[in-house]
């Protein structure tokens, strides 16, 4: 009943859903179509990233992870969405000020639409991964019904990224150098996530960290459902959803407290 009313409010009664889509479309266009390489870059970037890490870890360090290229690929697809949605949105309230400084538009819509734009990029990358894994990877077991779990994992990732984006961009209102701090933190987080390590090596070196780092759990589960023909680790999934919701709640509190002053402070 409540959900039905909410859906009706967002689609029929108001233009909220349409507005989110319009803003997302424009954001996506601005990001990719303004550059010479255009949308091609969105597809090329994860492939190039994958090549770099492949050379470093497979060719030079001789890692023994099976289907290492796909292993890296899916890890990077998840990581890049997280990075773009957090690093790329720190100054969001400043760059999108024109949307709320003259009207009472809900600021949360600005965040959601920006993450929708990133989701379009994610969808392209995921499609590239699926094609690569199923048609070029020798060790691929083909499509599986477990692949559908990626939708749930993506929702988890979306909520987590939205929460962190809200926290960072609202701190930005009072402390501009949060940008540099977060860049250092994400470099650290990148190496604390099992993106290119063998999972057993990661778990041995950092016991319990697959539960301590919400991104690690999402990446581990993404590999299970997309590559290993298995259901996600539900305990890990539960933990990661818990983290994402707590972080989102903190982000919404900050938006309410600090974000309300964005028009006068920025």
């Amino acid at each position: 009943m409540i959900l039905g009313n909410l859906l009706k409010d967002w689609t029929v009664r108001t233009n909220k859903l349409e507005r989110l889509w319009l803003l997302a479309k424009i954001e996506f266009k601005l990001r990719y179509y303004e550059n010479k390489l255009g949308l091609f870059w969105a597809l090329l970037k994860p492939l190039l990233d994958m090549c770099i890490y492949y050379v470093a870890f497979k060719v030079i360090l001789k890692t023994d992870v099976p289907s290492f290229a796909s292993y890296l690929f899916i890890g990077l697809v998840m990581w890049n969405f997280f990075l773009e949605s957090t690093n790329g949105t720190i100054a969001l309230l400043n760059t999108k000020k024109y949307l709320y400084e003259y009207s009472n538009m809900n600021k949360l819509e600005i965040y959601i639409s920006t993450l929708f734009a990133n989701s379009i990029g994610f969808l392209f990358n995921l499609t590239m991964f699926i094609l690569f894994f199923n048609f070029f990877e020798a060790g691929s077991g083909g499509f599986s019904v477990y692949n559908l779990w990626i939708i749930v994992l993506f929702i988890n990732l979306f909520i987590l990224a939205l929460g962190i984006s809200l926290i960072l961009s609202n701190i930005y209102i009072v402390a501009k150098d949060i940008n540099q701090i977060w860049m250092v933190f994400t470099s650290f987080l990148f190496f604390l996530s099992p993106i290119f390590y063998k999972l057993s090596t990661f778990k041995d070196a950092l016991p319990g960290f697959d539960f301590g780092n919400p991104l690690a759990g999402i990446i581990i589960n993404a590999r299970r459902v997309m590559m290993n023909d298995a259901a996600p680790d539900f305990k890990l999934l539960g933990f990661d959803f818990g983290y994402a919701l707590v972080i989102l709640f903190a982000g919404l509190l900050l938006l309410n407290k600090l974000g309300a002053k964005a028009a006068e402070k920025l």
Binding site: N15, L22, I26, K97, L99, Y102, S103, D177
Partner: protein
């Protein structure tokens, strides 16, 4: 909220804390944790209560720096209040030189984005798109980024979006005092037409003729205080007396 009321302000106030130090980085904040920042408090809006009905055109007058612009930002929901609350029944739009536009977008994109922010569906914007473009006289530049527009073109486009898309509650901040003569004529022409009818308008102006002509009720502010809110002629008389 009562359906006949567009805006309700209850015990609202606003004080700006202006810091003389620039503690806007994490480093500054950490290094100056124990040294209190030198802050100055400027009470911009002192405690006030009032209601504005739907379809009413209300004037807002007072000398420069008396808090008119801050008050409309509070009422539009752009600034948060320090005390009390503002109940807003509908979408709001503050219009001075124009509406908020992104320099990186084309005129066409800005029209769609601004209209969408104001609550219009894409089909509704399609229906008024030509009207907005023609009114702004930018037909041949509709797919040009607005950062290449002259200030006059920007003003025309902003004005055109605001009057054609419109919001439920419009705050017009000195719109008769900006732009060239042609722009001012346009603004006046719109007001002479039936545009204002049925809209909730809060009109900020230093022109007493404009206030007398269009406003049924007027608020007179002095140093952040709402001195009077009622019959327009009385508010205008108080303002004139204050200026002598």
């Amino acid at each position: 909220m009562d359906n006949g009321i567009a805006l309700k302000a209850r015990n609202i106030s606003k004080t700006f804390h202006i810091s003389e130090d620039s503690h806007n980085t994490v480093k500054h904040r950490l290094f100056n944790l124990f040294s209190p920042s030198r802050r100055k408090s400027v009470p911009a809006i002192k405690l006030m209560n009032f209601e504005i009905n739907k379809g009413e055109c209300v004037g807002l007058i007072g000398r420069n720096g008396c808090g008119k612009s801050t008050l409309i930002r509070l009422l539009a929901g752009v600034y948060p209040t320090d005390t009390g609350f503002v109940e807003i029944n509908g979408t709001t739009l503050i219009m001075n030189l124009g509406v908020g536009m992104s320099q990186e977008l084309t005129a066409r994109e800005n029209i769609y984005v601004s209209s969408s922010v104001l609550g219009l569906k894409i089909k509704e914007t399609d229906a008024i798109f030509d009207k907005i473009v023609d009114f702004a006289e930018i037909r041949e530049f509709v797919d040009t980024k607005v950062k290449f527009f002259s200030s006059g073109m920007m003003a025309r486009l902003g004005f055109s979006i605001a009057v054609n898309a419109g919001a439920g509650i419009m705050f017009l901040d000195e719109i008769f005092a900006v732009g060239d003569m042609k722009f001012q004529e346009k603004a006046i022409k719109v007001f002479e037409s039936s545009w204002i009818e049925g809209k909730t308008v809060i009109l900020v102006s230093h022109s007493m003729d404009v206030i007398r002509k269009y406003c049924t009720r007027t608020a007179y502010m002095k140093k952040g205080e709402l001195v009077f809110f009622g019959e327009t002629q009385q508010a205008v008389d108080m303002y004139i007396q204050d200026n002598q």
